[in-house]
Amino acid sequence: MEKMDIIKFIKRTLLFFLAVFLLDFTAGHAMRYFYFKQNSGSLYRTTFALDSTKAEVLVIGSSRASRHYNPEVMQEKMGMSVYNAGQKGNHIFYHYGILKAVLTRYKPKVVVLDLLYDEFKPEQDSYDRISTLLPYYDSHPELMELIQLRGPYETIKLRSRLYPYNSLILPVINGNLGLDKKREPEIKGFLPLDAVMADSVKKNSARVEYPLDSMKLKTYEKIISTCKEAGISLFIVFSPAYLDDIISNYSVTIGREMAVKNNVPFFDFAESAPFMNDYKLYSDNVHLNSKGAAIFSRQVADSILNHLKNPR
């Protein structure tokens, strides 16, 4: 009886796994099809940055990058094409991924890395967020090095066709229906914010030191060395934030020191006018609104141009 039960179990388990495999394969392919069929939305912007942009100036960073750098304003000032590849919720690993993937296609003249405050703080979320790159694991093998930072079993998990599209069904529907086009209009990757901050209260930005995430520091160094090796002019920027004592943010301090050590220009807008005291240029404490972004984009373009003309 027991033997028969075992045989029955093995047979049915094998059939079951075959069915799961077929389900995963079919659903995974359907998700892949609709994922790459998108023509708007945040996921599409990643695809565009990885596979299509040929801009001479490439901006990489988090949501602060996507909200702060207006390519049209910068283009007008610099006379070069600009694409903003900033992606909300993402960290240094994603930025490096974009750079690596772009370099397999073409070489931008200028790369602007918008450094996030507390970028080098050890946080699991930064590793989890590498999931943004999962749909590209097979078309961009250069990203595997970063994807594997998510955990030791990532290669096994990627045997599933659906896994790269985990949690993406709603954004993919959104991207296919083009709902974001109305909700969040985009200008060459730039996502302007119209709202104005409600009050002038500055949030605390604690002046604390913390253990630094060595993998993040290493990735930051890799961005610097990759640009150097490829002959790309890299500019690292700390864009404005309406926070108290932001100038002494530990990660920004470390980022500045490393940039200086490697002769990379570091533009710190933490305490620059008019952003330091005008809350009306912000949408919230850490994001400029479109008015603030326009002023900032002009300033950053000027700084880059000045440096390109008179390198120090």
């Binding site: 039960d5 179990f9 998700m31 999931s131 079993y153 599933s160």
Partner: protein
């Protein structure tokens, strides 16, 4: 090792396969070794604490059985003192010290007692309560003292329920280690079904909701009343799916090997009263408190005021069991108050319902009772989830004084949360009415498999694979 980790998938497959390959007399060794490995995957050194209480309780059990009169009681006290002592040191020492510091600073004095820099051993409250149930049952004469040290150790350490229950009784579990479990197809499938359902609740519902709930509760200063109402309702489902999901995986993985663990949850949010809620929520703990504390205090066979006191006291201790924080104590006390109020007001509520004619429409009355019970439970969850007393008061104040629109944050996340809750309610309503999860028990093989595929597809599509550990591990 977390049930929702890749490591556990490998561990479970290897241990279960070996379990059926190894002959019966040696299976306890396999289970004990694998349980040690499972526990040591968290913080290895804490196995020594388990070892300490296991040795004390093992000998205490035999000494209780051998002794008569006062000596019998003394050995029981030794066992209870050892278990409660471990709990007191690792879980409550710093909490008591904190309160002492606050008390002394109130009268301008400093606290000379040092703080302990210790981590709370995972699942400490669960396995100490299970160990205590053994010596109490031996003392009461309901259980023979276990002579086999390995089997007794396994009773405390059995990996499926080691870190978060269900808190078993010796009469239900010990004899099962002696029974030879054959590979039974139906039983294995039933176990795997439960594991799948538990995993679904954890990955698709609990971990998804936790993203929203954490973003609100961890930034209490910045949100309004309606947002806290939504976050608290989400938390109610989060904690239910997190804990019952764990229990289902635990019960299911034990079932695959042939062990029957006690049911821990029975769709608690369909309860029509607080008293029914506690018969459906964390049943192994509720019955533990009933059997070993409430009844020991006299239970219902005392004067009415004393019975109310007993109820209140048991819930107060239950709150303290959950965590060394005033918020848990208030949570427990609040549930005690709910129950006492329900008992006192029963007569008047019945009359009131009759007067309004609500009682005549049974269906409507039941739905109303479910909603009121759910609202009361949600209110108590505020204390359970808030980081401290200040936050919980702030949240309650905001709920009753502020309006405005609900903070949505990430629209997709919010939609996932709503869909996940609706899906859970739909599945559980069917379970409540038809007694089965989806078509898990259908005679039709195709329907059963479609049910499995449906859950697997949802886990792969919208499950949270980067989620954290189970909430109840901290207890």
């Amino acid at each position: 090792m977390l049930f929702n980790s890749f490591e556990f998938v490998i561990f479970f497959f290897v241990v279960t396969s070996l379990y059926f390959l190894v002959s019966h007399p040696y299976r306890w060794i396999l289970l004990l070794l694998s349980s040690c490995y499972f526990y040591m995957a968290f913080v290895p050194v804490y196995i020594l604490i388990l070892g300490f209480t296991i040795i004390i309780d093992y000998y205490a059990g035999m000494l209780i059985e051998k002794s008569t009169g006062k000596r019998r009681k003394i050995w029981l006290i030794v066992s209870l003192a050892a278990n409660i002592g471990v709990l007191a040191i690792f879980k409550y020492y710093n909490f008591l010290n904190d309160n002492l510091t606050a008390l002394l600073s109130g009268i301008g004095k400093s606290n000379p007692i040092p703080y302990l820099k210790i981590l709370l051993p995972i699942g400490l409250s669960f396995h100490t309560f299970q160990a205590m149930s053994y010596t109490i049952e031996v003392y009461r004469g309901n259980q023979k003292a276990e002579r086999h040290f390995g089997i007794y150790s396994l009773y405390v350490m059995f990996y499926p329920q080691l870190v978060a229950g269900p808190i078993e009784r010796p009469q239900n579990l010990l004899f099962q280690f002696y029974k030879e479990h054959k590979f039974e197809y139906n039983r294995v499938i039933a176990g795997l079904q439960l594991m799948l359902w538990g995993l679904f609740k954890k990955l698709v519902i609990a971990d998804r909701l936790s993203i929203y709930v954490d973003s609100i509760y961890n930034n209490a200063e910045h949100h309004n009343g309606p947002t806290f109402i939504v976050a608290t309702v989400f938390f109610a489902f989060q904690i239910y799916c997190d804990f019952s999901g764990y229990s289902d995986i635990a019960i299911g993985s034990a079932k695959v090997m042939g062990f029957d663990l006690m049911t821990n949850f029975r769709r608690p949010y369909f309860a029509t009263s607080i008293s029914e809620f506690w018969k459906r929520w964390h049943i192994s703990l509720s019955t533990w408190f009933k059997d070993y504390l409430y009844i020991s205090l006299g239970g219902n066979r005392v004067t009415v005021p004393r019975m109310y006191f007993n109820l209140f006291f048991v819930f107060l201790i239950s709150g303290l069991w959950h965590g060394a924080n005033w918020t848990f104590i208030i949570w427990g006390a609040l549930n005690g108050i709910y129950l006492i109020f329900a008992l006192i007001s029963q007569k008047y509520r019945d009359r009131f319902n009759e007067f309004l004619g609500i009682a005549r429409n049974r269906q409507f009355h039941k739905i109303l009772q479910i909603l009121v019970t759910f609202a009361l439970v949600c209110f108590s969850w505020i204390f359970f989830r808030a980081a401290n007393f200040h936050d919980s008061s702030l949240i309650i104040h905001r709920i009753f004084t502020t309006g405005g629109s609900v903070f949505i944050g990430n629209m997709f996340l919010f939609i996932y949360c709503i869909l996940a809750i609706l899906l859970l309610l739909g599945i559980e309503l069917r379970q409540e009415l038809k007694g089965q999860i989806l078509y898990f028990n259908s005679d039709q093989l195709v329907l059963r498999n479609i049910s499995y595929m449906f859950l697997i597809l949802l886990i792969l599509l919208i499950g949270v694979f980067d989620g954290g550990q189970f909430i109840y591990f901290q207890f």
